[in-house]
C-alpha cells in the first residue's frame, strides 16, 4: 500500500529525528518543516514525546510534500533518520522502518559508532555535530549543524532558506545566538559535502 501511495505522491519525504530532551530535537524538526514551507512545500513537524524531560529519549517527525498533508500519524518508514546522540543506537531501534537507500545522519566523530545495515544500502553520514556546536555556540548542541548536513545530503530544502528560518526562529535570543547557529548550519553543511566527496 505504501509503495503505491509513493507513486501517487512524488516528492514526499519523511524524516525522523532522534535525540535526548534538551538537545533541540523538537526545534530541529520544526526548523526543517519551516524551511520546507518557506520553499513552497506543504510540511508538518511534531514530537513523539511531548513531556520533554532533559536527557530522556525524544523523537520528532517531519513530513515534506507537494500535496496537502492529512495524516497526523507517527512516521514509520522514514527516508532519513537524524541521530543527535549516537549513544541511543545502543538502546533504541533507531533505524526501524528506514527505507532502503535511506539516509542516516549521525552525530559522531567516529565511524565505529555507526551500525551495519548493508542489506538496506543505507547512506551513513558522520558529522561531529557536538564539536561544531561547542565551537560555534559554546555548548555541545548538535541540532543546527545536523540540519545543515541533512540539507547538504538531501537537497530537500535550500540552505539559504534554512539559514533564513534559523535567523527568524532564534531572533528573540539575540543576534549572537542567530549568528552562532547559522555558523553551525554552514559548518554542518560543509562537513557533509566533504564527507560525501570522500565516500564517492
Amino acid at each position: 500500500m505504501r509503495n503505491e501511495r509513493e507513486a501517487v505522491r512524488p516528492c514526499f519525504h519523511e524524516i525522523r529525528f532522534h535525540g535526548r530532551g534538551g538537545q533541540g530535537v523538537v526545534s530541529a524538526a520544526a526548523l526543517l518543516a519551516l524551511a520546507a514551507f518557506e520553499d513552497g512545500y506543504e510540511s508538518q513537524a511534531f514530537p513523539k514525546f511531548g513531556s520533554e524531560r532533559r536527557g530522556a529519549p525524544v523523537e520528532a517527525y517531519v513530513r515534506i510534500s507537494r500535496k496537502a498533508i492529512r495524516s497526523h500519524n507517527q512516521i514509520y518508514t522514514p527516508d532519513a533518520v537524524v541521530i543527535q546522540d549516537a549513544g541511543l543506537l545502543r538502546s533504541e531501534p533507531l533505524l526501524r522502518g528506514l527505507k532502503s537507500g535511506g539516509l542516516v545522519i549521525l552525530n559522531s566523530e567516529r565511524r565505529a559508532d555507526g551500525g551495519n545495515d548493508e542489506d538496506r544500502n543505507l547512506r551513513w553520514l558522520y558529522i561531529p555535530a557536538s564539536r561544531i556546536g561547542e565551537r560555534c555556540l559554546g555548548q555541545p548542541l548538535p541540532n543546527t549543524a545536523l540540519l545543515g548536513a541533512l540539507v547538504a545530503a538531501s537537497g530537500w530544502v535550500k540552505l539559504a532558506t534554512l539559514e533564513q528560518v534559523v535567523a527568524s526562529h532564534l531572533a528573540g535570543k539575540g543576534e549572537e545566538v542567530v549568528k552562532a547557529n547559522i555558523n553551525a548550519v554552514r559548518e554542518g553543511h560543509r562537513f557533509a559535502l566533504q564527507e560525501e566527496e570522500v565516500d564517492s
Binding site: 500500500m1 503505491e4 514551507f37 511534531f46 513531556s51 495524516s71 500519524n73 526501524r96
Partner: protein, 391 residues
C-alpha cells in the same frame, strides 16, 4: 497569511483575534502552550485582557464563569483531569446559559497516568450542556474558535472546541490566520443579555425547585436543538467570508455510492480520508463521515448521510467502561429511531495515544480487526517494521 504554526500557537493567535477580556487558566499538558502564548501576548501588550493564573482548573472555570456573568468575553483551556476538575463549574456555566468558550486539548484520563491523546476527557463531559466541536486540523481549530464566540452568544450556550492533544496542539502545520479586521467584521462586540449589573440587580443560577427546575433543563435541550441550524448557518456564512467550510455538523468524504462508511471524530479522520482514497483506487465502495459536532448530536443529518450505507463502522477514542462506545450507541439509536436497521460496528482505538495508522484503519475497513468485547471490538495494533510499536 498562511504560516507554519504550532497548533497551540495558532489557537492562541485565534483567541487573540477574538479579543477576549479575561483569560483564566491552569496549565496542564498538552494544553499548556496555548495559555503560555496567551500569557505572553498579554505581557507584550498584544492582547488587552486580564490574564489570571488560577490556583486550579476549578478556579479557572469559576473565574470565566464570573467574568462572563459580569459581561466580559472570556477564554479558558484545559485537558484530561483538568477538565474533570472543572466538571461542577462546567455544569453551572451551561445551566446559567453563559456564552463561555473553551478549548479542550484532548488527553487520556488517569489512572494510569497518560499525557497522550484520546477523547475520554471531553466525552466524559458530554452531558454537561456544552456544545462540543471536534476538529480535524489546526486550521479548523482556528476557524472553529472564531465561530465559537458567535455561536456561544447567539445560542447562549457554552462551546467546547475539542482538539487532539499533541496530534494537533504540538504539530506545526500550515494555517491561515484571518486578519484582525476580518475577525472584527465577523465577530460583533461581546454582548450577554443577562449581564450582572448592580444598577439592575438580578441573580444567575439561583435556587429552583421541583416546580420549575425541569423547565430549565428543557430550555437547554431546546437551545441545543436550535444550535444545530445555527452551526450549519455559521459554517456556510464563514465559508462565504473566509473561504473555508467544515460541513457544519458533519463532514462527509466520498460518500457517493459508498457501501461502507466509517464514522469518527478528530484528527484521525485525515488518515481515514487517505485510506478511503487508497481503497477507492482499488475499487472498494468506501467513504468516511466525520462527526464534527457531538453536542448537539445531529441525529437527523446523520441519518441522512448514512441512509444508503450497507455497513457502518464507528471508530472512537473513548468508551463507557461497562457499556461500550458512546458514539456508536448514539448512532445506532438515531438510525433505529428513523427505522434504519443497518448494523453499526463499534471499534474502540487510539486510547492513550496509541497510533491509528493507515494500516490499522484499512484493517478496520476490511473487517479484519481482532479482540471482540461485549459491545464492540478494539482496533488492532500498528505494525512497525524492525521494532516496537507503541511504547
Amino acid at each position: 497569511m498562511r504560516k507554519l504554526l504550532e497548533g497551540s500557537h495558532a489557537v492562541a493567535e485565534a483567541v487573540r483575534l477574538c479579543r477576549p477580556q479575561v483569560v483564566a487558566a491552569y496549565p496542564i499538558t498538552p494544553q499548556t502552550h496555548i495559555i503560555e502564548r496567551l500569557a505572553q501576548q498579554v505581557a507584550d501588550g498584544e492582547l488587552a485582557a486580564e490574564f489570571i493564573s488560577a490556583e486550579s482548573e476549578f478556579g479557572a472555570a469559576s473565574l470565566v464563569l464570573g467574568a462572563v456573568a459580569a459581561g466580559a468575553q472570556a477564554f479558558t483551556a484545559t485537558a484530561s483531569q483538568g477538565l474533570l476538575l472543572m466538571t461542577e463549574v462546567l455544569y453551572n456555566i451551561a445551566g446559567m446559559r453563559l456564552p463561555v468558550v473553551m478549548v479542550c486539548a484532548n488527553r487520556a484520563l488517569g489512572a494510569p497516568i497518560n499525557i497522550f491523546c484520546d477523547h475520554q476527557d471531553s466525552m466524559a463531559l458530554r452531558d454537561a450542556g456544552w456544545i462540543q466541536i471536534y476538529v480535524e486540523s489546526n486550521q479548523e481549530a482556528v476557524d472553529s474558535l472564531i465561530q465559537a464566540y458567535r455561536l456561544a452568544e447567539t445560542c447562549e450556550l457554552p462551546v467546547m472546541i475539542c482538539m487532539d492533544g499533541f496530534l494537533l496542539t504540538h504539530t506545526f502545520e500550515p494555517v491561515t490566520l484571518p486578519t484582525q479586521s476580518a475577525v472584527d467584521e465577523y465577530l460583533p462586540a461581546f454582548r450577554f443579555s443577562r449581564t450582572l449589573d448592580p444598577a439592575r440587580p438580578m441573580t444567575l443560577g439561583g435556587g429552583s425547585e421541583a416546580d420549575n427546575y425541569q423547565e430549565y433543563r428543557v430550555a437547554q435541550q431546546e437551545a441545543m436543538e436550535n444550535a444545530e441550524t445555527v452551526i450549519e448557518a455559521f459554517d456556510a456564512e464563514f465559508s462565504e467570508q473566509f473561504g473555508r467550510s467544515y460541513g457544519g455538523l458533519l463532514q462527509g468524504y466520498r460518500l457517493d455510492g459508498a457501501q461502507t462508511v466509517l464514522l469518527g471524530l478528530g484528527s484521525l479522520m485525515g488518515t481515514v480520508r487517505d485510506v478511503v482514497d487508497t481503497l477507492r483506487d482499488e475499487g472498494e465502495a468506501v467513504g468516511a463521515l466525520r462527526l464534527r459536532c457531538f453536542r448537539p448530536f445531529p441525529a437527523q443529518s446523520l441519518v441522512q448521510s448514512l441512509s444508503t450505507a450497507q455497513r457502518i463502522i464507528v471508530l472512537e477514542k473513548a468508551f463507557s467502561v461497562g457499556a461500550g462506545g458512546m458514539v456508536a450507541a448514539e448512532v445506532r439509536a438515531a438510525l433505529q429511531q428513523a427505522g434504519i436497521m443497518t448494523p453499526v460496528e463499534s471499534v474502540i482505538g487510539g486510547l492513550g495515544g496509541r497510533d491509528l495508522t493507515a494500516d490499522v484503519i484499512q484493517a478496520i475497513f476490511q473487517g479484519t480487526t481482532t479482540e471482540p468485547f461485549r459491545v464492540g471490538r478494539f482496533a488492532p495494533d500498528p505494525v512497525e517494521e524492525g521494532g516496537v510499536g507503541h511504547g
